[in-house]
């Protein structure tokens, strides 16, 4: 299966968006074909805005961290005056990674291979023995570390774009900005990434995690053990709200989408559960009241009492559920992805609620949680199933397609992703759809 796309005489498009009949199908070859992955790298990961990191991860001037984003090794840092910037982590001399630590604080970077040095704006700053290089060597920028084509942030979420001609982040995020605002407004002093991230992998195509992260349909079956745990943890039988009139899906344009609805669990900002006791109830009232004064009653209710599972195209998930997880992932091959996930919390959160937030996170999320490992199992099982794609070629993603207001356990939020994927990979014309 290494034939190039142009040589494939496909009898179909990969996305079959049949709006008239309310049927939406995705061809399983899109999850297994290396040619598709190459197209995705070229047309999606090299063109879209990709999540890089959060402002709170670089607290002081001269702080830096290194991160792989969209398949590139990057340095995300602040200079002496505190400006945020991003550099390709490759020495202009012979190509070694200039910074090899995960994070730190440095006024300058020096490559360990031949000792070339740079200030933390990436400018060449190496004293050379005279006679080896022309006199103006390093003065024209050719020996500087290369900045990433575009860097921008929205509400402390930093994104990079490797395409100098890309539209602005503001335009790209479109209606997703309103929901990033909801997450960013939890704390009166802003939000912060909590120390330590979870780096793991899933032996499945990256698009499966996109779908799974906003999938309200699978909760009762895949996560029955979590729901049984939750019943005991909160006392009583939890109503997992997913359906019509309760949880809604919103198309946020450009492939972004969110589902939003009530929460059956405690939320540090700010929904009380009996397990938190009388003092916890008073504390939640204080948090909720501060929120109401700061953002108004309607907005406070949305922040405090509603869950949100949000995809930002192509590979950022911000799930504001029992805790807030920020999760990004990148394909290693058609059948494997690397995942990195963080917990986000309010900067001014007290110690007891920070602990509750982390407990909430670990109960459900991450490679040791009560739910994520079962999601991973499902995704890996799906990927294996796709080995039969020639005999059984289509995924069905039609649920709720004929509804005026699709619910959280419908699949409109996934169709939003696939329509944008199709537009970028297959072109504007939707086969037989419009």
């Amino acid at each position: 299966m290494t034939v190039s796309l142009s040589k494939l005489d496909l009898p179909h498009r990969f996305v079959d968006d049949d709006r008239g009949n309310g049927l939406f199908r995705v061809h399983r070859q899109a999850f297994v074909d290396p040619t598709i992955l190459e197209k995705e790298k070229e047309l999606i990961f090299n063109r879209c805005w990709l999540y890089l990191g959060h402002s709170s991860e670089l607290k002081q001037p001269n702080d830096f961290l290194t991160r792989n984003v969209g398949g590139r090794e990057l340095i995300f840092n602040r200079n002496r005056t505190g400006d945020y910037q991003v550099l390709h982590n490759v020495c202009p001399h012979r190509g070694a990674q200039v910074v090899r630590e995960a994070s730190g604080n440095a006024m300058a970077f020096q490559c360990f291979y031949h000792g070339w040095a740079f200030n933390n704006n990436g400018r060449f700053a190496t004293r050379m023995q005279p006679g080896n290089y022309p006199e103006n060597f390093g003065k024209k920028g050719c020996q500087d570390l290369v900045a990433v084509a575009k860097l921008a942030n929205y509400r402390d979420f930093w994104f990079v774009n490797f395409d100098a001609g890309a539209i602005s982040l503001d335009d790209y995020l479109a209606d997703a900005k309103a929901f990033i605002d909801v997450v960013a407004d939890h704390g009166s002093q802003g939000m912060e990434i909590i120390d330590q991230s979870q780096k793991y992998s899933i032996k499945a195509n990256w698009k499966l995690l996109v779908e799974n992260s906003v999938d309200g349909y699978h909760a009762h079956t895949t996560h029955s053990t979590y729901i049984e745990y939750l019943a005991d943890a909160i006392g009583g039988s939890p109503v997992l709200p997913t359906g019509d009139g309760v949880v809604y899906a919103y198309d946020l344009q450009n492939g972004h989408a969110v589902i939003q609805g009530p929460a059956p669990w405690g939320r540090p900002v700010a929904q009380w559960i009996p397990a938190w006791g009388e003092q916890g109830k008073k504390d939640i009232d204080v948090i909720y009241n501060e929120l109401k004064q700061r953002v108004g009653a309607a907005r406070a209710e949305q922040i405090a009492l509603r869950n949100r599972n949000m995809n930002i195209f192509p590979n950022l998930v911000i799930n504001d559920i029992m805790a807030i997880t920020v999760r990004t992932f990148f394909p290693v091959s058609p059948s494997e992805m690397d995942v990195e996930a963080w917990a986000l919390g309010a900067k001014d959160e007290g110690a007891i609620f920070r602990k509750r937030r982390l407990d909430n996170f670990l109960e459900f999320l991450g490679p040791g949680g009560f739910a994520t490992p079962d999601d991973v199992e499902a995704l890996e099982s799906v990927q294996k199933g796709y080995s039969n794609y020639q005999a059984a070629p289509w995924n069905d993603i039609s649920k709720g397609m004929l509804k005026d207001a699709p619910a959280g356990d419908d699949e409109e939020q996934m169709r939003c992703f696939w329509r944008e994927w199709s537009r970028r990979i297959e072109g504007e014309t939707m086969g037989g759809a419009q």
């Binding site: 909590i194 120390d195 330590q196 991230s197 979870q198 780096k199 793991y200 992998s201 899933i202 032996k203 895949t222 029955s224 053990t225 049984e228 745990y229 005991d232 943890a233 690397d338 963080w342 917990a343 110690a351 920070r354 602990k355 982390l358 407990d359 996170f361 670990l362 109960e363 991450g366 490679p367 040791g368 009560f370 994520t372 490992p373 079962d374 991973v376 199992e377 499902a378």
Partner: protein, 163 residues
């Protein structure tokens, strides 16, 4: 406070624990813990300095959640471990570090845990840190932390077993 036992007692206890986990006898494994015990696994590469009050871990179970972890792993609907993986736990470098003022005996070991399923094998390695007490003459775990001497879970994907 009970006096320190011969080191063979601690080694036997750890080998017994590993055997129960290898055999998926998780309820019996839970029986090795004292009421109210905790069990923690920090993110890969982190050690006893990490604090689950303010750092993100993989696992930070209090007694309530630990009991549920075992119950979940024994269910057929615990999909990530059903069908069950095969496993082997090797314990070595057992060190009896002495007693704290509150009577906890601190014991550490080095471990390698293999998990095999669907023709694939992952390995986990690091150090177990125990605080042990005696309850009715028997050793019991009051606190256990498994520190992974790895840089991430990229190769393993998940930590759905008790390592």
């Amino acid at each position: 406070m009970s006096p320190l036992r011969p080191r063979a007692d601690y080694e036997d206890f750890l080998y017994h624990e590993a055997a129960l986990l290898d055999a998926w006898q998780l309820e019996q494994w839970l029986g090795l813990f004292a009421e109210g015990a905790r069990y923690e696994v920090p993110t890969a590469g982190n050690n006893e300095q990490a604090n689950s009050d303010h750092d993100l871990f993989y696992i930070a179970d209090d007694w309530f959640r630990l009991k549920h972890r075992v119950a979940r792993l024994m269910k057929k609907s615990g999909h990530s471990e059903y069908p069950r993986s095969n496993g082997l736990r090797l314990i070595s470098n057992v060190r009896v570090l002495g007693q704290d003022d509150n009577g906890d005996t601190r014991v550490t070991s080095a471990f390698i845990t293999y998990r095999s399923i669907n023709d694939q094998t992952q390995n986990y390695f690091g150090h177990h840190h125990y605080r042990l007490i005696e309850v009715d003459g028997a050793l019991r775990i009051r606190y256990k932390r498994s520190c992974l001497a790895m840089s991430s879970l990229r190769a393993q994907g998940r930590i759905s077993i008790i390592v």
